[in-house]
Symmetry: C2
DNA sequence: TCCCGTTCATCAAAATTCGTGATGGGACTT
DNA sequence: AAGTCCCATCACGAATTTTGATGAACGGGA
């Protein structure tokens, strides 16, 4: 039996892909830069192809690197799943965790119930803010771990879930047929750019009718027919009507949900929470890239 | 970052689970028995739970072992997928490959096209026989690699696919309402036991009306309304009618497709073919056991 | 343009890990 | 009861990996 790949190497590889840097990746995986460098060297030798193109200061995935990345991620996710399952409740500490409030509704039950059950000694300090503010807060050292939606300014983090975005209106409301189209969205919400860009693309007129950083407020605006909203699948609420995309409204780009950690937040309790979230909510473990031959 | 698990250990673990023996597993993964033993020891220490119950001469998976097994398999499958993708066409040799003829129809195109494209120097010698004969042939050293359907006599091999079994008849035929029910099936076909057992369970009378080790012959018998057949999903053919299970016919057990290797057939070209088959046809990589918490 | 800081590759030595072969004990067979 | 098969253990040696230092390439700022 040909020996299987070394997950440790793959982890380093993925870390590099995620943060675009050997040095930073080394910090994340608790190794020296040279160790990571040699791991990648061995991995490339093993597979017989360069995986990362070191071009000046930037490190990018080669075509083969891309192919490897998605598979390696899948393996690491399963690895997480296992670790999560077998970790006894002996970890202790506290984690400052940030999440957009629209997602909090979904995440909190998962975290508080199953995570607290398996890790009763870990205190999770939850704060809700819009994605952009979460990332700012992370830079200022206010968070250890943050779940956010990837905006146009591509922040580095581990992508673990994508969701369909939908246009929504109230049942039987008028907002949809109003001209210009009244929109409701978070002020700095990265989905807004998505929606606005999509509307510009087809030349549809619109106006921002309602803005708030509170997801409930947006939802209310939609439900009371004040405006049309744009929400990810999991934020849909009863009473909302999903607009088919073949109307005058264009298809929205999928929302990409990622997890980001402070540079110190690797290992131990942070892994436990991160892997728990990824295992519970991730939808990318499966068939995101099945036909390998087709690549 | 807590170090990830060692795939090499997991491979040994799975090998033991597959063949129920440390010693035999060691042979398969090209290690000594003591090496494998120590690997498992380290793995169990790492996860904090016994994974295998050594009870006298038999080795069985513990509950935790079961949980680990399916995940480890998934990881190994992805590992295979990667190896398959990156292996250049530099492997050479020949493989004596056996497959039941009903499956050959499905497998041959896959193997001959994509496999031969990526491994032009490997000659695959295909022989078609019923599963039982394949296993006999394997014992006699006539095959290196065999794909077969698990019968009641549980042979050890790596399970990589399950398929729904269906009762089939010809469109508009009489066979279905004939008493006793005329059946068509392979003489030693392990599905026959499945079908017969299922019929006995509900006390339905039957007779074996037609028997052949050739799948085409069975198919013809069904299509010409000579008898009712029982086939896995992938062997269904146009012109056949699938009988709903709520009729007088009981639900059949799923067919379990496994791969078995001669003891020498590990590594190199054998891995290449086996992983290719598993990657192309396996349907067990996905969500076979998603809710880990529920276990 | 010329530094200076950063980044990645490389090297030899050190440390760690891992596998081997021999050995022992327990269980099933005959 | 002897023989056989199987797994656990141990000490030693081999192979692999990490480290810390160093060098080379690149880019930004003055």
């Amino acid at each position: 039996m040909t020996a299987p790949l070394d997950l440790d190497q793959l982890q380093s590889f993925c870390a590099i892909a995620d943060c675009g840097s050997f040095t930073e990746a080394a910090r994340r995986v608790n190794k020296t830069q040279s160790a990571v460098s040699m791991q990648i060297k061995r991995l490339e030798e093993r597979l017989g192809h360069p995986l990362l193109s070191r071009d000046g200061r930037t490190v990018a995935l080669t075509e083969h690197g891309e192919a490897l990345y998605s598979r390696a991620r899948r393996m690491l996710r399963i690895n997480f799943e296992i670790m999560d399952h077998f970790s006894d409740g002996d970890l202790k500490g506290s984690i400052r965790f940030g999440v957009p409030d629209d997602y909090a509704v979904r995440l909190l039950p998962v975290i508080l119930s199953s995570f607290q059950r398996t890790h009763p000694k870990i205190v999770v300090d939850v704060r809700c803010q819009p994605s952009e503010e979460l990332l700012e807060g992370m830079k200022k050292g206010k968070y250890d771990l943050v779940v956010f939606t990837q905006g146009t300014n591509h922040e580095y983090g581990e992508l673990f879930r994508t969701e369909r975005m939908f246009w929504v209106a109230s049942h039987g409301g008028q907002a949809l047929s109003t001209e210009p189209l009244p929109l409701a969205g978070g002020l700095h919400c990265c989905w807004k750019d998505n929606a606005v860009e999509a509307l510009n693309r087809i030349g549809r007129d619109y106006r921002i009718a309602y803005t708030s950083s509170n997801a409930m407020a947006i939802a209310s605006a939609v439900l009371t027919d004040l405006a049309v909203g744009f929400l990810p699948e999991s934020a849909l609420q009863p009473g909302m009507r999903v607009i088919a995309e073949d109307r005058d409204l264009p298809r929205l780009r999928d929302a990409e949900i990622a997890i980001m950690r402070a540079s110190h937040a690797y290992g131990g309790i942070y892994d436990a929470l991160a892997s728990h979230i990824v295992a519970s909510m991730g939808n990318l473990d499966g068939r995101d890239a099945l036909p390998m031959a087709a690549e």
